[in-house]
């Protein structure tokens, strides 16, 4: 990795925004925002439901259509919370592990790898249980991550941010094309095409949510616990090794956490891109680059953004809905372009 291409994290280390006090204030603000979006996500939808009915539905009543509609929104909100948190955190981990400002589970092809693995499992091996989905997605995510990293680090200079992003984006395009090739001709599974092309949280049920929970929780735990190791890695491999860190192990463990999070999320929601790119960058502006703060912030921020995107998708196209994967791409892609423009680019 060349030093010149990564000017963001090192300079801001010293200028980390504010003290622990301001960070705590930001944290409180983020929690309040999250609560607000949760309330919005339960109350706002295609169907207008009176406040009393919403309260009754949250209490478990499902006797009118309005209440039943709200009851459907609850698992959806939970899924958005989990998926958003997982993707935000995974993005922060990937940016830390690869020391690459362009890293994101969507851009690096990890989500599409999970998607492709599930599609292959369903189309060719008749896979149908949700546990099989999840395992396959996680294996696919892991394989894609290793594959992209291997391609990106070929040649001189190792895994520079741009080579890695290019390898990831191209792999993602290739995988997406293979997904279409496998799914489209199969009438029996083609109904779900959209969900393997564009991620969404609509149609969430507790039955789909529960199996993935242990994987996501394990992913959250591993990822959040690797904050200190990521801080060492940010100093560069030599310095980290000098501080007594086993660099390879630290990378592998943190990546495992991110892969569990991405694979689990993609198994339930389909590929959702760009969230993991935007959230850590914004959080870094708020709290600086200390991963002990950045990781929890990215988790909360990811959950906030995904909920907001989901609510937005329900509002703007009433009475239809826009899948949250479309909304995140429309928000996130300009952000991606902005970061690409800021980078000092060396031609390949």
């Amino acid at each position: 990795m060349t030093a010149g291409t990564l000017n963001t994290s090192t300079t801001r280390w010293s200028a980390a925004s504010g003290s622990n006090r301001t960070r705590s204030l930001w944290l409180a603000g983020l929690v309040v925002l999250l609560a607000l979006f949760v309330v919005l996500s339960v109350t706002v939808g295609t169907r207008d439901v009176a406040w009393a009915d919403v309260v009754a539905a949250v209490g478990g009543a499902q006797d009118t259509i309005g209440r039943a509609a709200v009851a459907l929104r609850i698992p959806r909100t939970l899924l958005a919370l989990l998926a958003g948190g997982a993707l935000g955190l995974a993005g922060a981990i990937m940016q830390g592990v690869t020391r690459n400002p362009l890293a994101d589970p969507g851009i690096l092809g990890v989500n599409m790898g999970a998607s492709l693995a599930v599609v292959v499992g369903v189309a060719w091996f008749g896979m149908s249980s949700s546990y099989a989905y999840i395992w396959t997605a996680i294996v696919g995510a892991g394989a894609a991550a290793i594959f992209v990293y291997a391609i990106g680090s070929l040649g001189r200079g190792g895994a520079t941010p741009l080579k890695l992003a290019l390898a990831g984006a191209a792999t993602s395009v290739a995988f997406a094309s293979l997904v279409i090739a496998i799914v489209l001709p199969r009438g029996d599974i083609a109904g779900g095409i959209q969900s393997w092309q564009v991620g969404g949280v609509g149609g969430a049920t507790y039955e789909r949510l529960v199996p993935v929970l242990p994987f996501l929780l394990a992913g959250f735990a591993i990822s959040l616990l690797s904050a200190r190791k990521l801080n060492s890695l940010a100093l560069g491999d030599e310095l980290a090794a000098g501080l007594g860190e086993n660099v390879a192990v630290a990378r592998a463990v943190a990546s495992l956490g991110a892969i569990l999070l991405c694979g689990g999320t993609t198994a339930v929601c389909g590929p959702i891109g760009f969230l993991g790119l935007v959230v850590p960058h914004v959080c870094r502006l708020l709290v600086g680059v200390d991963h002990r703060w950045l990781l929890p912030f990215s988790t909360l921020g990811g959950a906030c953004l995904l909920l907001a995107a989901d609510v937005l998708g329900r509002i703007v196209a009433r009475p239809a809905e826009i899948d949250v994967g479309i909304v995140t791409a429309l928000i996130g892609a300009p952000f991606f372009i902005w970061i690409v423009r800021r980078q000092r680019v060396k031609d390949l």
Binding site: L166, T171, L184, P185, V340, L348
Partner: protein
């Protein structure tokens, strides 16, 4: 002594010209052969004599419909779209000196596709108007990508990454429009996701042919300048090429080709991306890549459509076949580019 050296140069040049002519002839023969096979061998086999009689406008019972109405429009549209994609793709790749800078990766195809879908679904346009709309949108996207990647000069890598970002947004737009048009059949949706020549009509071919003649002619007439651009901007300028003007013309012509083809058949996956490098392998340094690449595009679309229709267990639209072929090649190319840092 000197004359011997000149003789060597002359023989070399003649050899190159001969090889180039052979390549062109072989590619042309290949296009013609697959075209003929497409016309005569489908679910039923029509003897060549009957195919010829249909083509000459005679009424042949039985063959009239299957050849004249089904196979001919399909084959004609495949050839034209293939030529357009191959030519437009290689123009971008040569101009930007990077095989990854093909229109289907940097978002121009998605832009034209999104515009076409929007024109058809939301504005309920049809016919040539859709093509015009797609061309304008494609040009807009090309300018946007080019402008956004301009930062102390355009670096190829930055342009590709910006293009990928823009492409992701446009894909989302296509997905959204398709999603919100529930009455659409899967077949139609498929056309705009991967490209297909199903349900081709002969009158679709006319605007495409026109675009090919105008924009293709423009490109081929500037092929010397385009080849000079391969050597780098400074070298090209030293050789007497007006770099900025050539680049602008090439962008307009290539976008026109890609967008017209996309409006007719949808974004047939990876044809624009694959044709140039394949042609490059065949032609080596013997001459301009433009025409070989266009012919390669036609071969790819014709062959992939035939494979998708008749040689596989199910019936697949052409874009699915080219997508499955192109994806591994894209990955291979990334590996190669990263390893040796080379270009086309």
């Amino acid at each position: 002594m000197q004359s011997a050296a000149i003789d060597v140069v002359i023989t070399n040049r003649r050899g190159r010209a001969r090889r180039y002519a052979v390549v062109l002839a072989v590619l042309l023969a290949l296009v013609a052969a697959i075209f003929a096979v497409t016309l005569s061998i489908g679910k039923t086999i029509t003897p060549p004599a009957e195919v010829l009689r249909v083509l000459l406008g005679e009424a042949v019972p039985g063959a009239d419909f299957s050849v004249g109405q089904l196979r001919l429009p399909r084959a004609v549209l495949s050839v034209l779209a293939g030529l357009c994609f191959g030519l437009g793709g290689v123009a971008f790749q040569v101009m930007l000196r990077n095989p990854l800078a093909s229109p289907d990766i940097i978002g121009i195809t998605s832009g034209a596709g999104a515009a076409a879908v929007f024109a058809i679904v939301v504005l309920s346009m049809s016919g040539p108007m859709v093509s015009v709309f797609a061309i304008v949108a494609g040009l807009g996207v090309a300018m946007l990508v080019y402008g956004l990647s301009f930062h102390n000069g355009v670096a190829g890598t930055r342009l590709i990454l910006v293009g990928i970002g823009v492409s992701a947004m446009l894909q989302s737009v296509i997905a959204y429009i398709l999603q919100s048009a529930p009455a659409w059949s899967l077949q139609e949706a498929m056309r705009w996701l991967t490209g297909s020549v199903n349900g081709a009509q002969l009158d679709q071919a006319l605007p495409l042919l026109l675009a090919l003649l105008v924009f293709g002619g423009l490109l081929v007439s500037r092929s010397r300048d385009l080849d000079a651009l391969r050597l780098g901007d400074d070298m090209a300028a030293a050789l007497g090429t007006r770099v900025a003007q050539t680049r602008m013309l090439v962008i307009i012509a290539a976008v026109g080709l890609i967008a017209s083809a996309t409006a007719a058949t949808g974004p047939i996956a990876f044809v624009a991306f694959l044709s140039g490098p394949i042609a490059g392998r065949i032609v080596k340094n013997d001459g301009s890549l433009l025409i070989p690449s266009a012919l390669t595009g036609a071969v790819l679309v014709l062959a992939a459509d035939y494979i998708g229709q008749h040689l596989l267990p199910g019936r697949y639209p052409v874009g699915v076949v080219t997508g499955a072929l192109g994806a591994p090649y894209l990955i291979y190319l990334i590996i190669r580019v990263n390893r040796i840092g080379g270009t086309l």
